[in-house]
Amino acid sequence: MDANMMAGFDGLPDEDRAIMSSMIEQLQLRDSLRMYNSLVERCFVDCVDSFTRKSLQKQEETCVMRCAEKFLKHTMRVGMRFAELNQNASTQD
């Protein structure tokens, strides 16, 4: 997703590129934190339904692990396809 973000900034003076680059870093950091929270919420909602105990049951733990792993793999795949589509779009002009 982020591989080509700096690509459009080639003609700019160094100082401006530094500003853009730090903006991208900030965006990425913010996005990572947001992804952390939304992953927790999603896996909790999908996997935890009983509140008879304070601790997670074994099957809930397993479910959460699978959920998280699955979502991360999914996000990577989506990222690949997204990058491909982005590239095709920019080479069409």
Binding site: P13, D16, L27, M65, R66, F71, R77
Partner: protein, 85 residues
């Protein structure tokens, strides 16, 4: 005294940076919504295993492709209603 501006005429550096930031934030949000939507459409919530199976993989690829098309269509529709800049 100053070297020629690398930005389009009439656009200051501050405006260009602000536009770039908005564009980047838009792109990040587009990606996130795309990922969430296709996960919801394609992945079984029972999480029988940690891997994505072949069906899910195909569904994800197609979902991303279609979402992208819808994105393009809506973009065209929205820009067609505006006066030319």
């Amino acid at each position: 005294m100053a070297s020629p501006s690398p930005y389009p005429p009439g656009v200051t550096k501050e405006q260009a940076i602000s536009m770039a930031q908005m564009e980047m934030e838009y792109r990040v949000e587009l990606f996130n919504k795309l990922a969430q939507t296709c996960f919801h459409k394609c992945v079984d919530k029972k999480y029988k295993e940690a891997e994505l199976n072949m069906g899910e993989n195909s569904c994800i690829d197609r979902c991303v492709s279609k979402y992208w098309q819808v994105n393009g269509m809506v973009g065209q529709l929205l820009s067609a209603g505006k006066p030319p800049m």
